[in-house]
């Protein structure tokens, strides 16, 4: 009789179970369910949770003093500054690009639209190392503009402009790919009504479109910012790793790690991990808003 009383998820009240668990056609036997649940969550624990926990544990292994000193030493501070600089330049640029691209793709019909959408996503499918390489080929000493730049004493590769360019490249698609489906789902009736009633183009965008897309926009910006601050491969190729000058936070982590200064490396890494966690919190919140905004248009 034990089998009969041992209902699946017996400790949960019925109202807290998913509709699938209450439906006899969509629920598995308790044994199958707990096996899948255990294996799935174990996999999550080992591959997602453990790496996150390891960052903070290793960072604080030698105590809070060592941790704090690693964060306030001049090289770390200059890395923080450069990372913020790269993000502050690349995020607004890709925000404007994303809005322009989404406006043209979602509100108008033209030939080659599908191709353009694919091209916008292109940076996602290119290895970060190749992104770094192409800027070396264009702006490096032996590159296309190499001589021209040397004559004018302008440094792009192994300097801050190269880092900013590489960051812009890898973050191009983020805002656009959030806005395009959202604006397509919303159609163009509201904007057309505004224009017919005499609104100017910018007024229409500001008062009609923007309120409709603000959560999707924020969502794209959050993801764009996280990638901009965390990019490693592309930036690593064009940086030259000059301490205190062309080091971003992820590159600073690498240098400290390769010097076997693990506590400091993980201390700096924990800053980036915190940034990732904040990103996920905002993302979870905004995702819900985007979802309701999408639904509201149907």
């Amino acid at each position: 009789m034990v089998e009969l009383t041992a209902q699946p998820a017996a400790f949960l009240p019925d109202s807290r179970k998913t509709r699938y668990e209450r439906n006899i056609a969509t629920r598995e036997s308790a044994l199958v369910k707990w096996t899948i649940l255990t294996i799935g969550l174990l996999f999550f624990l080992i591959f997602i949770f453990l790496p996150l926990a390891a960052v903070f544990t290793e960072a604080l292994r030698k105590g809070f003093d060592v941790y704090w000193r690693a964060l306030v030493e001049p090289d770390a501070l200059s890395a923080i500054k450069l990372t913020l600089t790269a993000a502050v330049i690349s995020v607004p640029l890709n925000l404007v690009f994303g809005v322009a691209a989404a406006w043209s793709i979602a509100k108008f019909e033209f030939r080659g639209k599908q191709l353009l959408t694919t091209l916008i996503d292109l940076p996602f499918s290119i290895s970060p190392v190749i992104v770094g390489l192409i800027y070396v080929l264009v702006f490096g000493a032996s590159g296309w503009f190499g001589e021209w730049l040397i004559e004018r004493n302008i440094k792009i590769i192994f300097a801050v402009p190269g880092i900013v360019l590489a960051t812009i490249f890898v973050t191009v698609p983020f805002v656009a790919r959030e806005l395009i489906p959202l604006m397509q789902a919303q159609g163009k009736e509201e904007e057309e009504a505004a224009v017919v009633l005499g609104a100017k183009g910018w007024q229409t965008f500001w008062h009609v479109t923007l309120p409709n897309i603000k959560w999707g926009l924020l969502y794209g910006v959050i993801l764009c910012n996280a990638r901009a601050m965390g990019e490693f491969g592309a930036v690593s190729v064009v940086s030259g790793h000059i301490r205190g000058m062309t080091n971003t936070l992820p590159l600073h982590v690498e240098i400290l790690y390769n010097e076997y200064n693990f506590a400091a490396a993980f201390a700096v890494a924990s800053l980036l991990a915190l940034l990732a966690l904040v990103t996920l919190v905002i993302k979870t919140f905004v995702e819900h808003r985007v979802h309701t905004q999408m639904q509201g248009t149907r």
Partner: protein
């Protein structure tokens, strides 16, 4: 382009499309063309010599082999996690759901050093795996696999999860009422509906894994012929100022990426049609 568009009362078409094309060209397309132009400096024989060197071939085997294996592992466990997140209730579900995206948000270098710390010989898991089973994870090919599993997991979960959420329970109810066992209704009703999304997730994870650099180089050990990935070979050539060689390898990787992109686009069209028909 403008000739084929329908008349629209909305302003800003020329401005927004023009800006989009100019920006995309300056930032992405023109620099990218450098790879193709630079490669023409090599004769085909030289090009072939670079990309078919034994050390390169070893790196292809590792990069593609580990990426395929990681994609397959993620397809199985990603499907399981998506299932768990949609179908079951358990404490901490929202937290697990939010943290699935961690590999997207966590900088790759951070993931790299963290995974190394876990799987090194004196690490949290490494001391047991290496001490008890004698299997070396960090600083070898297995380490590459672990890193690629980490970065690929959200791709599978996030492509399968929405399809599973949208799926009508009527299908399984019909299967059950017609006498199907639970396993049969999963195998013959649910799985065929999920298959396009599952394959898309697998392909996305695979494509990302092939180009991945940051999370892999720390844990791989980077031993020539053993644990060097293809993107690292580009870096190696660059450090020797062999720009033509680096570009030749980049061209091979770009061609592979474009083919993968085409496959993924095709899969997404197929998936869209599949789910559209089932609604």
């Amino acid at each position: 382009m403008a000739t084929t568009r329908n008349f629209s009362v909305l302003p800003g078409f020329g401005l927004s499309l023009g800006y989009t094309l100019v920006y995309l060209s300056i930032i992405v397309l023109i620099p990218l063309s450098a790879v193709f132009i630079k490669t023409t400096e090599l004769s085909f024989a030289e090009f072939w010599q670079v990309i078919s060197a034994p050390r390169m071939v070893a790196s292809y085997k590792l990069s593609f082999g580990a990426s395929l294996a990681a994609g397959a592992i993620n397809a199985v466990f990603g499907l399981m996690l998506a299932w768990v997140l949609v179908r079951y209730s358990f404490p901490g579900k929202r937290l697990v759901d939010a943290l699935i995206d961690l590999p997207f948000a966590l900088p790759t270098a951070v993931a790299g050093i963290s995974l190394t710390a876990i799987y090194a010989r004196n690490g949290w898991l490494g001391q047991y795996i290496e001490g008890v089973f004698g299997i070396k994870v960090a600083f070898g090919p297995l380490g590459v696999l672990v890193a690629l599993v980490f970065i690929g997991l959200p791709f599978v979960v996030r492509t399968v999860q929405p399809i599973l959420e949208d799926m009508e329970t009527e299908l399984e109810e019909a299967a059950a009422s017609l006498g199907a066992q639970r396993w049969q209704s999963f195998r013959y009703v649910v799985l065929p509906i999920l298959l396009p999304a599952l394959l898309t997730g697998f392909a996305l994870a695979f494509a990302r894994a092939v180009g991945e650099y940051g999370s892999v180089i720390f844990i791989a050990g980077n031993i020539p012929f053993v644990s060097e990935i293809t993107p690292l070979m580009i870096i190696t050539k660059l450090e020797q100022y062999d720009y033509a060689g680096a570009t030749a390898i980049a061209l091979v990787m770009l061609v592979v990426s474009f083919i993968l992109l085409l496959i993924i686009n095709g899969l997404q069209v197929w998936a869209g049609r599949r789910t559209g028909r089932n609604r």
